[in-house]
Amino acid sequence: MQIDLTINTSVARQILTAFIKSEVTRAGFSRAVVGLSGGIDSALSCMLAVEALGKENVLAVRMPYRTSSPDSLEHAGLLIEQLEIPSKTIEITDMVEPLFALDPTISRLRKGNIMARQRMIVLYDQSEVFKGLVIGTSNKTEILLGYSTQYGDSASAINPIGDLYKTQVRQLARALGIPAPILEKPPSADLWEGQTDEGELGFTYEQVDKLLFLLVDHRYSPEECIEVGFDEKFVKAVIRRVQRSQYKRMLPPIAKLSNRTIGYDFLYLRDWGT
């Protein structure tokens, strides 16, 4: 069967820039801060923020680590030049290495998580300096798969691209004119040398986006996904990943004691009163 994730990019652009403008303004701000990794997701969020708020109102922050690929810095630089936005480069090496040094047995995963969380600290600090809200850069695929560091790269004030699958991010990024090297390179968290998303996940975004599109957007049962041609093991593995990472998509549950408890029966939108 034909599984078509194509989106109308001009409608997406219109909605997402309006979203950023509305939600930043209603929170009492007029500016935004984006951590630019050199990848496509943060490039897209940054570009949408610039369209929404104006180029003088978006600060791009590059936060390389000693082993980060030089391409990452350079690609982020291409976008900063193209958009003509203010930027800062704040290296995190000296911040994270003392922590790494405390435990010689520290794993690659722990280092990666520490780096992601250190970048969050820098970004939120710059948010205060620039008086801008942190714009999220997590796409729907990685949110559903839990492929992120909690309170690290997943932390933001608002997220314009969280309802776009990775392949839709690519489509929109292409339509918005994001520099070709960013569009074309393999996606990577760049937490260690040679890391790629697809290598680490064990499948491609093309494959998993189609499956998630059926499971989540079209409410297909796992059996129906297998019937239309997805491999059974792949379907089960993806469903397990989504299930096990549900905690990453929620605030921590609070144990109920009183008659009115945050999260259960104290219910207001963030836009309350605005």
Binding site: D4, N8, S22, D265, Y268, G273
Partner: protein
């Protein structure tokens, strides 16, 4: 007879009734400047939509004593006004409601009878269900009001039609969803399809006013429409932005269309009643 209709697809502040009232009065002034006879506001236009625990604090009674309705009633001296609000009854049940104001009086209040409580909707958790569907007389003829989910069920517009309504006024707070490769969101296509179908099937005027603006991540898509008794689109507001869409309705079109297409004349209500009684008596069919 002509009716100049103004559809005010506004954005609202969530839970800030006073500032929403100010906006209503601005749009009313604009509609008057364009010589409109009737202005229609969206669902919950005075309060905002995803109210949750704000419901009790934004409720108002459509009376002259009420500080929100007083200026609206005053403004209805030479322009009829349909507004969306939270109505509280004497026993403190809260309803999603539309009020029709004319010449300083409240002609009718409709309580939403279908409260979507599934998917992204949670109305049944916070609101009481309305339990009547009535048409009412205005200076333009007989009118019926419905709110959003009400017209996703075929029976409320049908009942209004049988109750004499020739002008159906629909209001919505419809969140945009379903982005595909098309130019229109799924939610816009769905609503446009059904509202137009009612105009054709009931050979009546059908106006629909949907709000705009964000509430957190939900964007209401606007796109107010009015269709004539032939099911022809007379006017449409833009998507996603605030607008006052003004259209002139030639009410004589009712006569011309129904002379060509006597669906109302031929409607077999006794047959409907007989079969409905049978079906409901045998309710195990579900």
């Amino acid at each position: 007879m002509k009716l100049t209709l103004a559809l005010a697809q506004i954005s609202t502040a969530l839970g800030d009734v006073e500032s929403n009232l100010e906006k209503h009065l601005e749009y009313i002034a604009r509609a008057k400047a364009q010589k409109a006879d009737l202005i229609v506001f969206p669902e919950l236009s005075l309060t905002g939509y995803v109210l949750q625990d704000l419901v009790a604090s934004v409720a108002h009674k459509p009376t002259e004593e009420d500080p929100i309705f007083k200026p609206l009633l005053e403004a209805s001296q030479n322009l009829d006004i349909m507004v969306g609000f939270v109505d509280e009854d004497a026993r403190h049940r809260f309803y999603i409601a539309s009020a029709y104001l004319s010449d300083g009086r409240v002609l009718h209040v409709h309580h939403k009878v279908y409260l979507p409580t599934y998917g992204l909707f949670d109305e049944g958790r916070f609101f009481a269900w309305g339990d009547s569907i009535r048409a009412f007389d205005t200076r333009f003829g007989r009118v019926g009001m419905l709110i959003c989910e009400d017209f996703w069920h075929a029976s409320p517009p049908y009942l209004l039609w049988l109750d004499g309504a020739d002008i159906l006024l629909f209001s919505s707070a419809s969140p945009g969803r379903g982005l595909t490769d098309r130019e229109k969101l799924d939610s816009a296509r769905w609503v446009e399809r059904v509202t137009r179908a009612y105009a054709s099937m009931f050979t009546s005027f059908v106006a629909h006013c949907n709000r705009v603006g964000f509430e957190d991540g939900l964007l209401f898509w606007g796109g107010a429409t009015v269709n004539d008794p032939n099911g022809e689109l007379l006017a449409q507001g833009p998507y996603f932005e605030e607008a006052l869409t003004v259209a002139e309705l030639d009410l004589n079109q009712l006569r011309r269309t129904r002379a060509r297409l006597p669906l109302l004349r031929d409607e077999r209500t006794a047959l409907v009643q007989k079969e409905l009684n049978r079906i409901l008596a045998n309710s195990s069919r579900g």
